[in-house]
Symmetry: C2
Subunit: 353 residues, 2 copies
């Protein structure tokens, strides 16, 4: 995997044009979705790339992150005369960057793409690391490839247009990165003032956070080992997310991760001596900023089943990445069903359920 | 791109089981099509991999090399419980290896696959080199990725069940490889007795031929330069093939390449002093074994248009890989429209049209 350029700047247009001017190319296509267009403005998008061959617009939301939408993108590329020397700029949240990356990676066996994430979640997570993909037959990200963007331009410029829940959703992934990095990085995140989200402080926290992920991905691009550290909070988080989806009351990914982090720091305590004071500190923070996801004992069998069939799990076992302290993670921790159930009990206590 | 293992043997089952036994995996899925099953026998396929989780069967032919079929394969993999540790064995011709490779390369962001080509064309061409893909919106191989099989097992074992036209179709690609390699390699091919197609002589010619392609692909896996040498005969050949398809009278790919080689050796003569005696020798051989593809002056505009819009062409120019002698190729030769028209005139003379 080649080295990917990441720019941290609010001068998005300048950075993008610098990136594009360095590429040997013919046409540039911009991909975005209807929500992004509405929130950020058609004129702003049109102004980004002066000589864009076309602006391709898709329907927003995870429900449209599928093969039908990919086919629409491929058709628009064909209609615009895209060749192997064309470049696509994915301008949007995780759906746009994941789906656009996959569409580009498979068009004529691969054209290059640049990601410009417009949400905190895609900035911190989806736009970096080469995971592209779409949902298929009800399974998330079931179809995709590993292919890195040529460059990613990360800013806080577009975050003001987002609802607070979107910011918090992305912030949960930043908390995860802080926990993976060090006590100091984690402390900086817990001290951050949420109301200052457009400030330069957030951009520097974002840079630190993205670099945590980048360092891990460089060491393990194809998720054979170390990269599973990034799964912290996600085994339980995905279970919450899948169950909520199945019940018809979906929850944002980042909120699911936030609650998943509580469950998995509890497991970290019982399995790897993660300090109980740190478990309490996180649980309080999450409860204050994210509220609680309500579960009862009756939900345990479904949650356990989701966890056992996580994409990263291999043999139907309960497999977690767990901390012994902030900055010290062990991947591939297999725990018993009873331990998971106990962690769910403690989660409910901590969340005052 | 990792190094790909290629086995040349008629002990296919042994080789396949050796390959599979060396892989850390859970389930093996076999992909084939209905024609292959009929020609080679369901029992033979079932016997190949004793503990296959499922044999996935697709409809045969280029007309089914599309996203609908890929979705069927993905669904069957899901139904069979395939995980990232599963392996797919693509057993068939070019449609099975191209489509199966793409389906595997994109399922859960990529599972491993092994190719067992059953036609001469797929053995010599499609199964080696990492090109996977399907047709889309009427364009051939428009969607795909570069991803090599873990291993390819090449034999002449299944060729006896093929019609002669299939053998000749593959043989045209071998002639191309001979022209790229050396006068000696090329001579060996012209001297081969077509009626001995199941013999070991063909297997050794096949090995030499595949190695020509492999050496080029290793040097240029992503088709940035040298690999375009493999395009010899294909710019004109694809034009014949596309025109025939458009007229509703499709011709086999290898036949199109054979006739394309005649056109492009003529161009090699006029542009790069390729010996005229060699042009005559090839034209005679092709006329004897493949007959002629009939074209008139009225077909020239369409043929020229197809050539200018070849996937490997960049700016609507006429771009060829041309020989100065067998073994000496130059890629990226831009020639004039008049030179192409003159070559088509000479092609018609040589083919007695």
């Amino acid at each position: 995997m080649t080295h990917q350029e990441i720019y941290f700047t609010n001068e998005v247009k300048n950075a993008l044009n610098t990136v594009l001017s360095q590429m040997d190319k013919n046409y540039v296509f911009v991909l975005t979705d209807k929500n992004v267009k509405k929130a950020i403005g058609e004129d702003v998008i049109a102004d980004l790339v002066a000589d864009a061959k076309a602006i391709i617009e898709i329907e927003p939301g995870d429900v449209n992150k599928n093969l039908e939408t990919v086919q629409l993108v491929w058709s628009k590329l064909q209609q615009g005369g895209a060749t192997r020397k064309s470049v696509m700029v994915n301008f949007g949240g995780g759906v746009v960057t994941d789906l656009g990356g996959f569409a580009a990676a498979t068009f004529k066996r691969g054209i290059r793409f640049v990601n410009v994430p417009t949400t905190l979640l895609s900035a911190v997570d989806a736009a970096v690391g080469g995971k592209t993909g779409v949902n298929f037959n009800g399974l998330k990200n079931e179809i995709g490839v590993f292919k890195e963007a040529e460059a990613v331009i990360i800013s806080t410029r577009y975050l003001a247009s987002l609802p607070e829940s979107e910011i918090k959703s992305g912030y949960a992934e930043m908390l995860k990165h802080g926990l993976l990095k060090s006590t100091e990085a984690y402390n900086r995140l817990l001290q951050f003032d949420f109301n200052d989200n457009a400030g330069s402080n957030l951009l520097s926290l974002l840079e630190e956070s993205v670099n945590v992920k980048r360092e891990i991905v460089i060491q393990d691009p194809l998720e054979k080992g170390l990269r599973r550290a990034l799964n912290l909070g996600h085994t339980a988080g995905h279970a919450f997310e899948s169950m909520a989806l199945h019940k018809g009351t979906p929850i944002p990914h980042g909120y699911a991760v936030a609650w998943g982090l509580v469950v998995e720091t509890v497991l970290s305590h019982t399995e790897r001596q993660y300090p109980s004071s740190e478990v309490y500190r996180l649980a309080e923070y999450i409860l204050t900023h994210y509220g609680a996801y309500h579960i009862t004992c009756d939900d345990y069998p479904a949650l356990l089943d989701y966890m056992a069939h996580d994409k990263k799990s291999e043999n139907g076992e309960y497999n977690f990445s767990l901390l012994s302290s902030p900055g010290n993670i062990t991947t591939g921790c297999v725990v018993t069903k009873e331990a998971v159930e106990a962690a769910l009990d403690i989660y409910r206590d901590l969340m005052h359920i």
